[in-house]
């Protein structure tokens, strides 16, 4: 097949053979990776600006209004447009796949990806057109500061965020409605049984009974462990959406009153109290749903790759419950630099409870590694490679955050590049995305009806460029942070240019890796196939029938 033919038609991809569930999954995946490209370009622009006068970009990118509007859009596009979209797509496919039940509503799944796409687009437009730039933290009263920002920009931005959150509620409803549907294997289960399993209480009772020498509470839990993780993580997703939407409504009320010519007094909202409220919710993403979803994904991938039962499954179930409780109590580590924050909250929530994340994530890492180890020898497939990459990412990123979640360290590290690069970017780019790439390689044949990947060489190039680039960018950025470089500050005079040049080189590797990955995917499904994904499915089936056990066969050495 010629290159042009391949580009148009792909390898053996036939979009007409896909059912409704497969198509809606792929639509969200496509949007997610397009947003990923946008976020990588934005990141590279900011990195280039930090290089200083030698950077080849037009001067406008160094103007503060422009630079900080990019910095505002960057996490919205990255976290919601790309990551949420990809995770939601994967889970709305996986829950029916693992429970062997149909998705509650394919229409709702379509609504979810559309709302998140529109919402992300609106937030991006608000930053691009009106240079609305309060950053994603929305520290009060900055988002309502109409002396610095155009009113209309603020309103469009908040409407965008609201669309994303409404889409998020759609995802939550779809997931729980699917889990609680009493059909198929759950036909005879009660809601109580599903709830007990969903919260991992059965795992705890099993452990408790084992300690007392009694029979297990439940030999065969109602829900598979990865579904439990999705169930548990989605609790945090809900709470987080409520808080972000609540903050959005507050900002919108102030902006609308301003628009009406009767501005409200911003001082009536206590900035520190608001910050506590907002960080409680926002932290449910970083220290809640991400960690729980990731732990669940590791367990799923380890069991799918090995075809064996998860090592210490009851402990894993109980740990997920612990992780949920921990995630509700750790937000104060974001306020260690706020002197009005009570010292006890800094000490207990900010330091001690936060340190538990070392335990919960360390446990997830251990259980995953032992499950893989017990099944060796394994073939070094792409999914296994990416899973190991994901483990490295979190192995690096979690301690980097724990180090800073300390009153002594925070005094000299808060708001520096350390936390955003050595922790956040390594956790997201290396830890989370490599886990998601692993899931993508596992699910690829199932979601695309055994479409052959165009080039395994390109898959490998993508892996190494991405791994080295991701770790390198985080490491050099983190070093700049140790040398005093602030994270939310404009440096255009080349103050930290050695680190920034090295970080930019590594960032370019991540960007090139994304382009290679996208090219490989387009060559596999073809442009016709890519368009076909967005055409209505002829087969309305909302479930997928392949048994998970078949995946393990491909990973056996």
């Amino acid at each position: 097949m010629s290159f042009a033919e391949n580009l148009m038609n792909g390898t053996n991809f036939d979009h007409k053979s896909l059912n409704a569930l497969q198509k809606v999954t792929l639509r969200a995946v496509v949007m997610s990776f397009l947003f990923y490209g946008l976020v990588a370009i934005e990141g590279m622009i900011m990195r280039m600006v930090s290089i200083g006068p030698a950077n080849p970009l037009p001067e406008m990118f160094s103007h503060p209004a422009h630079y900080f509007s990019i910095m505002t859009a960057h996490p919205i596009v990255g976290i919601f447009g790309s990551t949420y979209q990809l995770v939601f797509a994967a889970f709305m496919f996986l829950v029916p796949f693992l429970t062997k039940k149909p998705l509650y509503s394919v229409k709702l799944a379509n609504f979810v990806w559309l709302m998140i796409t529109i919402g992300t687009g609106l937030a991006w437009i608000a930053a691009f057109v009106w240079q609305y730039a309060p950053l994603y933290t929305l520290y009060w009263p900055l988002p309502a500061d109409t002396e610095q920002f155009a009113l209309v920009g603020g309103i469009v931005f908040i409407l965008g965020v609201a669309c994303i959150m409404i889409g998020t509620f759609g995802f939550i409803y779809n997931i729980y409605a699917t889990i609680f549907a009493r059909v198929g294997v759950h036909k005879d289960k009660t809601t109580k049984e599903l709830l007990i399993s969903g919260f991992g209480i059965d795992g705890m009772l099993n452990l408790w009974n084992k300690l007392r020498g009694k029979q297990p509470y439940s030999k065969e839990p109602a829900l598979a462990l990865p579904v439990v993780a999705i169930f548990r993580g989605t609790v945090d997703t809900f709470l987080d959406a409520v808080v972000i939407l609540g903050a959005g409504v507050l900002v919108l009320v102030y902006l609308l009153f301003d628009l009406g010519g009767a501005p409200l007094n911003v001082a009536t909202v206590d900035a520190l109290l608001y910050k506590n409220f907002f960080w409680w919710g926002l932290d449910l993403v970083a220290d809640g749903l991400v960690l729980i979803y990731v732990a669940g994904s590791w367990y799923l991938l380890a069991t799918l790759i090995t075809g064996q039962k998860l090592f210490m499954e009851n402990v894993a179930r109980a740990a997920l419950m612990l992780e949920l409780l921990v995630s509700w109590m750790v937000w104060s580590h974001h306020l260690l630099g706020d002197q009005g924050q009570p010292e006890m909250m800094k000490l207990i929530s900010g330091e001690m409870v936060t340190a538990f994340e070392l335990l919960t994530q360390g446990l997830a890492l251990f259980i995953t590694l032992v499950t893989l180890w017990k099944a060796r020898p394994l073939k070094m497939t792409m999914e296994l490679k990416y899973l190991l990459g994901g483990l490295v990412g979190f192995g690096l990123a979690i301690p980097a955050a724990i180090i800073q979640a300390d009153m002594g360290m925070n005094r000299v590290l808060h708001n520096t590049q350390w936390i955003i690069m050595a922790h956040v970017h390594i956790a997201l780019i290396v830890g989370l995305y490599m886990t998601l790439y692993s899931a993508l390689y596992v699910l690829w044949p199932i979601v695309t009806n055994n479409t052959k990947m165009w080039s395994s060489k390109l898959s490998n190039v993508h892996f190494w460029l991405y791994l080295i680039g991701g770790i390198g960018m985080g490491a050099f950025g983190g070093m700049a942070g140790l040398d005093g470089m602030l994270r939310r500050h404009l440096y255009i005079n080349g103050e930290f240019n050695t680190y920034m040049i090295l970080a930019a080189i590594c960032g370019s590797m991540v960007l090139i890796a994304w382009a290679i990955f996208l090219f490989n995917i387009i060559m596999s499904v073809g442009i016709k196939g890519l368009i076909g994904i967005f055409l209505p499915a002829e087969d309305p089936t909302a479930s997928y029938g392949i048994e998970p056990e078949t995946i393990a066969e491909n990973n056996k050495a």
Partner: protein, 198 residues
């Protein structure tokens, strides 16, 4: 062991974290290599599960115990409400402009000073930076709540003051070349020995 300023602390931290990073990457690489081998690798060391858990708990808690005992500004910060500082400096911020207590501040080595900052509009930061760009310390400055930081300087130096928290693009000149909140060489510490201390 005591860290007397951020340079010493972060240099130690840099080395410790780099060693850790090399170890974790190597362990996963070794693990990945052995996952694929037909001949099963012998464990280099057997770590019982509960020892591993104890290690994680000790790491999480021990880190804070270590920093509390080696970083002097931790206990100073927690008990600052009971302290009687040698000097207190009051700062105010409104519309991205500082209202400074005096033209320049000179502090004697070992003096315990309180920085008390009030914001009249937005959330800012209060940070001191050495001439090589490294950070001495910082705090957040919230409008409507108390922002006070007690500090003892144990090394000579000349520090710039700026806001460490983003408060909108108005902090900078239009071309981005100037941080309008940066007050150059505002604080000078004198009277310390060469290696630090009085």
């Amino acid at each position: 062991m005591t860290f007397t300023n951020s340079v010493e602390l972060l240099a130690f931290h840099n080395v410790a974290y780099t060693i850790y990073a090399v170890i974790i990457i190597s362990v996963i690489a070794w693990f990945g290599y052995n996952l694929t081998r037909e001949n099963k690798a012998k464990s280099v060391v057997r770590i019982p599960f509960y020892t591993y858990i104890a290690f994680l708990v000790a790491g999480g808690v021990g880190h804070h115990i270590f920093t509390y005992n080696t970083i002097p500004w931790v206990s100073e910060d927690i008990t600052r409400h009971e302290a009687i500082p040698d000097a207190t400096y009051h700062f105010e911020i409104a519309k991205h402009q500082w209202k400074l207590p005096q033209d320049k501040i000179t502090i004697q080595c070992g003096e315990q000073v309180m920085f008390d900052v009030v914001s009249h509009d937005l959330m800012y930061g209060f940070g001191l930076f050495r001439q090589d760009g490294t950070m001495v310390m910082q705090m957040q400055v919230n409008p409507g709540s108390r922002n006070d930081l007690l500090w003892t300087f144990l090394h000579n130096g000349v520090f710039d003051l700026t806001s460490t928290e983003y408060s909108g693009p108005a902090q900078y000149s239009h071309d981005g070349k100037t941080d309008l909140m940066r007050v150059k060489k505002y604080i000078e510490i004198v009277g310390c020995k060469e290696g630090g201390g009085k």
